[in-house]
């Protein structure tokens, strides 16, 4: 029963925590669907050289713009490269950028957020107002501006998207830290003479784990979507690197004769982003009982 969690809201007494988590997490069809898609996506990423039928960079002008056939399941592009192979290799670009951006912006965001939330006062004011200023730029505009300054390419796309994504984490962790630091166990820890650093990173950060893991999952999807947007605009991944966003754009002139060129990579983007969102939703339901089934 996809989209419906009402069937799992009556847990038997004394169900252990992990079983409860698994029960709620896997309770929705879409979440399982998302997990399967992600598993598939990761396998493709790892085994891309084995799975791809052709070299994604091999130019073969004699076989340009072939219609989908048994030899080329999705056809070939304007310079004769196999579309399916490029989509398979494009998954590496997406995942690599997604993981890098999320990892860096999580670390920076968590450090900023916890510093602001834990110390409060003017530290809080300065950091949070800076974050507010950041948030005034729509994400794509910020990324566009950064990549206009730095140029395209994988490294610069990672920097641009990290700059754009980081404030969200800082805000989340800051809010959590404000809340958690009021708990008695933090007071107890402090009375033992624990350092600020210890309290922040050994007690508060681990307690932010649930919302953080949900955000990380959702952000992986957003980053992949944003990277595709930048590559589509032509300021992201530079050719000839296979990237889904730029493939959609490259297919544009052939929309009439060969729609698969644009549509196939777009479907890949959608599936993966959808999967990340659904798994994120599932994790939230499972980790935060008060929200269960509401989003």
């Amino acid at each position: 029963m996809p989209g419906n969690a009402s069937g799992v809201t009556v847990p038997p007494p004394r169900l252990n925590e992990f079983k409860r988590f698994r029960r709620v997490f896997l309770g929705r069809g879409v979440v399982i669907f998302g997990l399967i898609v992600l598993l598939f996506f990761i396998i493709i990423t790892i085994f891309a050289p084995v799975l791809a039928p052709y070299d994604p960079y091999e130019i073969d002008v004699g076989n340009a713009l072939l219609q989908p056939s048994r030899q080329h399941l999705l056809g070939t592009d304007a310079v004769g490269r196999d579309i399916l192979s490029r989509i398979i290799f494009g998954s590496r670009t997406s995942l690599f950028i997604g993981i890098s951006v999320v990892a860096i912006s999580t670390i920076v965001g968590v450090v900023l957020g916890i510093t602001a939330g834990y110390y409060g006062g003017w530290v809080y004011t300065i950091i949070m107002r800076l974050i507010d200023a950041y948030m005034a730029f729509p994400m794509i505009i910020l990324a566009l501006m950064v990549s206009s300054l730095l140029g395209g390419g994988i490294k610069n796309v990672i920097i641009a998207l990290t700059v754009a994504m980081m404030p969200g984490y800082a805000r989340l962790i800051c809010g959590q830290a404000l809340h958690i630091k009021e708990n008695d166990y933090i007071l107890a820890e402090r009375s033992f003479g624990a350092s600020n650093f210890r309290i922040m990173f050994l007690h508060i950060v681990p307690n932010c784990f649930s919302p953080l893991i949900v955000m990380v999952t959702m952000m992986l999807g957003s980053v992949i979507l944003a990277e595709a947007g930048l590559s589509f605009l032509g300021v992201g991944i530079t050719p000839p690197t296979a990237a889904w966003g730029s493939m959609v754009n490259e297919g544009r002139p052939y929309l009439l004769t060969q729609p698969a060129l644009s549509f196939a990579p777009g479907i890949a983007i959608m599936l993966v982003v959808f999967a990340f969102n659904m798994v994120g939703d599932g994790l939230r339901d499972a980790l935060d009982p008060s929200l269960r089934g509401t989003l």
Binding site: P138, F232, L233, V248
Partner: protein
């Protein structure tokens, strides 16, 4: 309410100043000398160091950075955002010329987000777990996933190329040809509205479900009120508070979406300008457009906060 208003105003002003510093700083850490860029664009002839120094002086680039910032800021407050490096058109004029075009797409998209998103969310919450809920929720989840540019191509493919009922790109002012304007803007508006519709319905559903659990809703039911009244009079008002916030953010999303949608449909609005100026490395334009968009977002956030404080008195005292 007045003190809340003033506090918010001061805060927004502070953020505004920070934004100007960020935009200014971003443009100054840029590799390359703006004067050389200016000169090589115009004349290929050899330029002496003296000429460069003279121009640097003329543009005030020999002053300390913070003085340059204040000179620039002074101009910004007077509505002077500099001139294009390429064609010397004042940036502010070009932005103002293009604003109505972006609004022509943005306002309908924004309204669609509210008009369709909120009722969809309410229906889902009220019929939770039923077929309609599953259907709409799934559609909304897909809606926040679709790459806007891909949707644009899909719509062009279906309506422009196959059915041939709508033009695939371009823009005509509604005062020149209203019918053509509507035809040309339908597809971009749909693209731009999809995300707001989907995210608004998700948020409405979520906060509605949250409110429906409250004690006063049970009280309303126990009074024997009809469902319609429980939903409309008691639940809706309180569940709209987070939706208001989201709608404020929706403007930011639409501004971001405009960048891509205007590129797909070749609409000469602000978003297209942003992309074009990034490509032509026309930095005064990049700076001006980014600053303009940020200011719009700050104003929208400010208004959202005011609405928020008005609807929910608890906010004012925090």
């Amino acid at each position: 309410m007045v003190s809340y208003l003033i506090r918010r105003l001061i805060q927004s002003f502070f953020v505004l100043i920070l934004v100007t510093i960020l935009v200014f700083a971003a443009m100054r850490i840029l590799p390359g000398d703006p004067i050389r860029m200016l000169l090589t664009q115009n004349q290929e002839a050899e330029i002496t160091q003296e000429q460069i120094n003279f121009m640097r002086h003329q543009y005030g680039l020999d002053k300390p950075l913070y003085v340059q910032y204040f000179i620039w800021l002074d101009g910004v407050f007077k509505g002077d955002l500099g001139r294009s490096i390429l064609n010397h058109v004042p940036v502010a004029n070009e932005i103002l010329r293009r604003v109505p075009i972006t609004l022509n797409l943005g306002i309908p998209a924004f309204l669609l987000g509210i008009i369709l998103g909120i009722p969809a969310g309410i229906i889902c919450a009220v019929r939770r777990g039923k077929f309609i809920d599953t259907l709409v929720t799934t559609l909304a989840n897909i809606g926040i996933t679709v790459p806007v540019f891909w949707l644009g191509f899909l719509l062009v493919y279906i309506f422009g190329i196959h059915l041939r009922v709508l033009p695939v790109q371009g823009y005509t002012s509604p005062t020149d040809n209203l019918l053509l304007n509507i035809k040309q803007t339908v597809l971009p508006i749909i693209c731009l509205a999809l995300f707001p519709i989907a995210s608004t319905s998700r948020q409405t559903r979520s906060s509605m479900l949250d409110v429906m659990k409250q004690d006063y809703i049970r009280t309303a039911w126990s009074k024997g009120l009809q469902e319609r009244w429980v939903v409309v009079k008691h639940a809706l008002k309180n569940s709209l508070i987070p939706v208001v916030t989201l709608s404020g953010m929706g403007l930011s999303m639409i501004m971001g979406g405009a960048v891509i949608v205007e590129t797909v449909f070749n609409v000469p609005g602000i978003g297209r300008l942003a992309v074009q100026s990034v490509f032509s490395k026309d930095y005064p334009y990049v700076q001006g457009v980014v600053l303009f968009i940020a200011i719009v977002v700050i104003v929208a956030n400010f208004l959202t906060d005011i609405a928020y404080g008005y609807f929910d008195p608890r906010i004012r005292y925090n």
